[in-house]
């Protein structure tokens, strides 16, 4: 039997590439449609017509959009993200530090939330329709129905202001020890974990339950297998596809969706960078951030698809 995996994976990568192309077009032209002129916004209250005109020329804003798109795409292919309108620093410089921060936060949150969510989801499925299951199910809905900024503020009040266990801000500059790492990241990670876990728990539980209803799990039971064995050995490997998809979707939130957490904990991540960029109409920066989010999303989704393909021996 010839393996279909390479061609399937290739297909997924191709799809991701097509999507990325669509995104790049959409992003560029959507951002150029933003009203308000960069020069005017940069000057704020000081925007006199002469000053605006001067700045526009200085920033090459008077060239047609299509030409700028060509430059931009050309630059992207060479790894050049352009130069920020707002402060003339290469976008790559602005983005790199922030991206690293975002990835760090996302990574730590993933390390905490994925095992937690999978454990809760799997155990809830394992003891389906027990009190435990009900508590987990209701609690997950409960948690996702509290706005994130309430959770974050509450966490700050309790842990930073009253108990003074943790800093209210996430200082991530001089982390030299594990406890320092914990202190800096504890609260953002906790808040985000609440946000992203609920969906993963729900999906994992549903996917495992779905496979628990299959004849081969019943067969395992009839072979005398224990409940954990049935779930872990038989149900879980076959639920990997949908679970990895749910995990990828939830984690994609950690790239661009964390704006509120970044704001409240003053964490210098990439979402805040993009918000700044939008308010200053810093088009190269907006475009780069948007592309990064889309790229991250596609990486996650494509990885999930590939995991699903690899976890299915029928395709091997």
């Amino acid at each position: 039997m010839t393996s279909r995996v390479p061609s399937l994976i290739l297909g997924r990568l191709l799809i991701a590439l097509v999507t990325l192309t669509i995104v790049s077009f959409a992003v560029f032209f959507a951002t150029t449609l933003l009203p308000g002129d960069t020069a005017t916004i940069l000057l704020g209250q000081a925007a006199t017509p002469e000053a605006v005109a001067g700045l526009r020329t200085a920033m090459h804003l008077d060239e047609p959009a299509l030409l700028r798109f060509v430059y931009w795409i050309g630059g992207l292919f060479q790894g050049d993200l352009g130069t920020s309108y707002a402060n003339h620093v290469p976008v790559a410089t602005l983005v790199s530090g922030r991206l690293a921060n975002t990835l760090k936060l996302a990574g730590l949150t993933t390390l905490v939330s994925v095992p937690l969510a999978l454990t809760l989801g799997i155990t809830a499925a394992m003891w389906r329709r027990t009190l435990y299951d009900r508590i987990v199910t209701i609690a997950t809905i409960g948690v996702i129905s509290v706005p994130e900024f309430v959770l974050a503020t509450l966490a700050v009040l309790v842990f930073a202001v009253y108990l003074k266990w943790l800093p209210a801000l996430s200082f991530t500059y001089n982390i030299d020890s594990f406890s320092g790492l914990l202190r800096a990241y504890a609260m953002p990670v906790i808040t985000l974990t609440f946000g992203v876990s609920a969906q993963m728990i729900r999906m994992t539980r549903a996917a495992v339950i779905e496979t628990l209803n299959t004849p081969y799990v019943e067969m395992a039971l009839l072979k005398g297998a224990s409940r954990p064995r049935m779930v872990l050995r038989h149900a879980l490997p076959n639920a990997l596809g949908p679970i990895s998809n749910a995990v990828a979707l939830s984690l994609s939130y950690l790239l661009g969706g964390v704006i509120i957490v970044e704001t409240i904990f003053n964490y210098p991540g990439i979402a805040k960078l993009m918000v700044d960029a939008v308010s200053t109409r810093d088009l190269p920066l907006i475009q780069s951030c948007a592309m990064i989010f889309c790229f991250g999303y596609l990486i996650l989704i494509t990885t999930a698809d590939i995991v699903a393909i690899l976890s299915n021996p029928r395709l091997r």
């Binding site: 995104v23 809905i141 409960g142 509290v146 549903a206 209803n213 918000v275 951030c289 948007a290």
Partner: protein, 290 residues
């Protein structure tokens, strides 16, 4: 992609049988009461608000609950009860409108893609995938920047954000249904696309789609509050619940009702909607009883 269609048998406890063979779950009934309560509050808001929404009646701010100001006062000394009542209008109304538009569009597109396959599927899937890859809050931010904030814009923005999700979900379901022989039968009968999706596929995926709609409703209510954080929201003096929480968040350290009550309102509504959908009255199909 497998999706979280709930195929598990329902728990047999806590249910009662009523009306011509419909089984009603007690949890569902309770959830329905809460949803109905908020729906009525939203509907009759103008008649039951004790004060005008914008009127500043309390000299203090973040005032406690007391007679006359049953839910305390907000950050400007306005009556929280009146604001919550009006907030119900916006939260329920906007979220419902948005979730309906999003699900309708997403589900129709999803079923169409599943039935037509081929290039249509490919193109629609890729475009919606691309849309999905833009974080929702940042998309909202761009919209505010581009066209400003008004209720139609808000509803449309929220809808657009949730179309890809509804699409992905319903397409996956519809593809499973599409492989069934009865679809094949309808096709070789010569049926056209509208009949196929509306009459053959939709009735079979409506259950999971409704469950998904419930979850999406929760996310939309929350996103609405998140967007108010970014300045896309209802015009003052009115405010949706998320905005109420947001504008009164400063009262959290004082445990002011102004921040706690709208949070509770959001939680009761979203949890009830989900419980209601999970426990919808079910027509008893009892073969052995017949």
């Amino acid at each position: 992609m497998k999706t979280h269609s709930s195929t598990e048998p329902r728990a047999s406890t806590g249910s009662l049988t009523a009306w011509s063979g419909y089984r009603i779950n007690l949890v569902g009934l309770a959830a329905f009461s809460v949803v109905l309560f908020w729906a009525l509050v939203a509907l009759f808001a103008p008649y039951i608000t004790p004060h005008s929404v914008g009127e500043m009646i309390d000299l203090d701010y973040f005032g406690p609950m007391r007679p006359g100001l049953w839910l305390g006062s907000d950050y400007l000394g306005r009556d929280m009860l009146s604001r919550i009542i009006y907030g119900a209008r916006y939260t329920v109304g906007i979220s419902l409108a948005a979730v309906s538009i999003a699900c309708f569009t997403g589900v129709v597109l999803g079923m169409t893609s599943a039935v037509l396959r081929g290039p249509v599927d490919m193109v629609v899937s890729r475009i919606l995938d691309a849309m999905n890859s833009i974080p929702s809050k940042l998309f909202g931010l761009m919209v505010v920047a581009a066209v400003g904030s008004s209720i139609p814009v808000l509803i449309l923005t929220l809808s657009v954000i949730y179309v890809p999700g509804a699409y992905r979900f319903s397409r996956a379901l519809a593809i499973n249904i599409d492989t069934m022989d009865f679809i094949m039968v309808a096709r070789i009968r010569g049926e056209r696309l509208p009949y196929l999706i509306a009459s053959e596929i939709l009735p079979n995926i409506i259950g999971p789609v409704l469950a998904d709609l419930g979850l999406r409703f929760v996310f939309i209510v929350l996103l609405l509050s998140g967007l108010s954080f970014l300045g896309l929201g209802v015009q003052p003096p009115y405010a949706d619940w998320g905005a109420l929480v947001r504008e009164n968040i400063g009262g959290l350290p004082f445990a002011a009702p102004a921040v706690i009550v709208p949070s509770l309102a959001i939680a009761t509504l979203t949890i009830s909607v989900n419980l209601l959908i999970d426990n919808l009255p079910q027509k008893i199909r009892d073969r052995s009883a017949s």
